[in-house]
Symmetry: C2
Subunit: 80 residues, 2 copies
């Protein structure tokens, strides 16, 4: 069975308020060396298939249709 | 300057309601091959330091104190 790891990140040109909040919190805790924070999602999917090409095609469709909002987010995935 | 990539995942023994919801949504869209979904966080931190050992120590402290709730979450990080 294959496992897919999906990373969804906010595009560089889009403001990331969650990242700004985390950076602020880190600064207030004394971690002043942090100059930028971007927060994204990380998903692990277990797939009931072992056809690699098919899985690749299906995971791409899942990302496009549900897992990522491609207007403001980028995604990448790995099959293990 | 170093960059840290932090992955925060819910421990295997802890229920992941967000993952269950994503799995349900994928099933309702016809992606029936997905047998399990776990959702985590993915953070990119830009650090204003190039001392690798120091950065390692500091990022570990950030994870322990803010980025991960170690009662229910695991974390791992990479320095680039």
């Amino acid at each position: 069975m294959l496992k897919a790891t999906v990373y969804v990140t906010i595009k560089q040109s889009v403001l990331d308020p969650q990242g700004v909040a985390v950076q602020g919190a880190l600064h207030s805790m004394g971690f002043d060396e942090v100059s930028k924070v971007r927060v994204g999602k990380y998903l692990e999917l277990e797939l009931g298939t072992s056809d690699r090409a098919e899985a690749e095609r299906r995971v791409k469709a899942m990302c496009e249709k549900l897992l990522a909002n491609t207007v403001i987010e980028d995604y990448r995935y790995e099959l293990i």
